[in-house]
């Protein structure tokens, strides 16, 4: 036991130190000015823009991602699909920065989609234009995370005993109803986990936005993570700490809500 507790202390202390800092720096400053920081922040148009864009992005991106990857793993459940299983994880593996040239060729003004449109008699489209920025980053988000979630869902589906599916199929020939009545309720707990992970991963999209649009992205995808980054470079720590507290607050409320929903749902089962 002593040797083990040594390693535990070694791993845990930095963790507690960071936790300690994360609270003191924020709370210490807030105590001086009361709620002033919060009020100022909510009056700040850039912050409100960032909040709005983040909510739009999560509101559209996360449900879309979940539906697509769940659909994909349901369609893959009866066959091995070796190539597909291999290819789906590729976007997760390779850094988006390394294939940014490829994306530019697909989406750019002289890119493949645009040329196909011209070929079909339509006007050329430049998806790299700022007005499509939100669509493009949602596409990148789905591209990046779909394979990961498909693996999570597939492993959840594979833990369901085969007999359940077979018994249901004996009574009803419809496979779609089998999916709805047997598989979906049984993987619901994993779906809650998947929602949490997807929301968290949406913040990691900072990387893709950075390589696509640089450190100053167009206004319509200016999100909380950019707001925080920019205030860091402006050395505005109070505002940054306040924004961090709000962000942590929103996220923990979200997690709490999802966990509560999960508990409610599994009790009904």
């Amino acid at each position: 036991m002593p040797s083990f507790s040594g390693i535990l202390v070694f791993a845990i202390i930095p963790f507690f130190a960071s936790l300690y800092y994360s609270f003191t720096s924020g709370i210490g400053k807030i105590e001086f000015v009361g709620l002033g920081n919060f009020i100022e922040l909510f009056k700040n148009p850039t912050f409100m823009l960032a909040v709005k864009n983040t909510l739009i992005f999560i509101g559209i991106g996360v449900p879309l991602l979940l539906i697509l990857s769940l659909g994909l793993s349901l369609s893959m459940m009866n066959a091995p699909h070796v190539f597909a299983r291999w290819a789906l994880l590729i976007p997760l593996i390779i850094p988006t920065a390394s294939v940014i040239g490829g994306w530019n060729l697909i989406l750019g003004v002289d890119g493949f989609i645009s040329r196909l449109a011209v070929h079909l008699g339509l006007e050329s489209i430049n998806f790299l234009d700022e007005k499509f920025a939100m669509e493009v980053i949602i596409l990148l988000y789905i591209w990046k995370n779909m394979g990961y979630l498909a693996v999570v869902f597939t492993s959840a589906i594979s833990t369901i005993p085969k007999e359940y599916k077979e018994v249901y199929l004996l009574e009803s020939k419809s496979e779609i109803r089998m999916i709805r009545m047997v598989i979906l309720p049984l993987i619901a707990p994993i779906a809650f986990f998947a929602i949490i992970i997807s929301v968290m991963n949406s913040f990691k999209l900072f990387r893709e936005v950075y390589v696509m649009y640089g450190s100053m992205p167009p206004k319509n995808i200016y999100m909380l993570q950019h707001f925080m980054n920019n205030n860091f470079f402006k050395l505005n720590y109070q505002r940054l700490a306040t924004a961090a507290i709000i962000l942590i607050g929103i996220l923990s409320m979200l997690i709490w809500l999802i966990l509560k929903l999960q508990r409610h749902y599994t009790r009904d089962l």
Binding site: S3, A11, F15, S18, A97, W143, V151, S155, R207
Partner: protein
């Protein structure tokens, strides 16, 4: 008929996933003149012009590549033993506060980087580590994710095996080294790939903790250049791709373990 339809959908989505990769690699074999002619997939004449430019004419690329390798090496060397031993502790020992500490790990795991940016910066500043490789390595080496994943995996190792080892006279360290570590090989391999990906494509941390141009990793380079982009990207993705080809099964298993609670 219906089966074919489903198969086609699966195939098309899989193809969409790798198309940007294919286009990048195939375009890396075009000369800059051929690229200027407009977007097409397959090069007419295979040219290594871009590779020559990247590897021989841009010392910055090589320096940043080396920085990426350095960051990766130190992070992995530190993070894997730490995660494995933390997993051992959380899964095989009862001690006061264990569940609370584990819960804190999960919370830390879920926080986006931007939320912990200031405390991390202040800590690194106090330790005089800003602008060094350690500034990017250390926060990642104490990986909450690694500890979480190893714990989930080791919970499935039978306690009876551990007890049997103890009866045969092994100390805690003996159990750890001769029983737990060999049984966790798959999880370690999966953790290795996930850490690899994380380090190799890291952008947020170096952007803030490293201001010295000489220390930056390659992931920041590719967003800032316009010429020879395809070859630079291709060289950059070879390593992760190789690791993936070698350890695909372990990765899938690892993701499944972190998913099932």
């Amino acid at each position: 008929m219906k089966k074919w339809f489903i198969k086609a959908i699966v195939f098309i989505s899989a193809a969409l996933c790798i198309i940007p990769l294919i286009i990048t690699v195939s375009n890396s074999f075009m000369s800059s003149w051929e690229i200027a002619e407009g977007a097409h997939v397959f090069p007419r004449d295979i040219s290594i012009y871009q590779y020559e430019q990247v590897l021989l004419r841009s010392p910055q690329y090589l320096l940043w590549f080396w920085n990426s390798v350095k960051i990766l090496f130190f992070t992995v060397i530190l993070a894997i033993p730490l995660s494995v031993s933390a997993g051992f502790g959380f899964s095989k020992f009862q001690f006061p506060g264990r569940d609370i500490i584990f819960f804190l790990y999960i919370i830390i795991l879920l926080l986006p980087f931007q939320a912990t940016l200031v405390p991390q910066y202040i800590t690194l500043n106090h330790l005089n580590l800003l602008d060094t490789t350690a500034a990017v390595v250390l926060p990642n080496a104490f990986s909450a994710f690694g500890a979480f994943m190893m714990t989930q995996f080791m919970k499935n190792i039978d306690d009876e095996i551990v007890d049997a080892g103890k009866i045969d006279g092994l100390s805690h360290w003996g159990v750890f080294i001769y029983i737990i570590v060999p049984l966790s090989k798959t999880a370690v391999a999966a953790l290795f790939i996930l850490l690899f990906i994380e380090c190799w494509s890291m952008i947020e941390q170096p952007l803030i903790f490293l201001t010295d141009q000489g220390e930056l990793p390659l992931s920041l380079y590719l967003g800032n250049i316009s010429s020879n982009l395809y070859a630079a990207g291709t060289i950059y993705l070879i390593l992760p791709l190789l690791v993936y080809l070698l350890a695909h099964d372990e990765l899938v298993e690892g993701i499944s373990y972190s998913g099932i609670k």
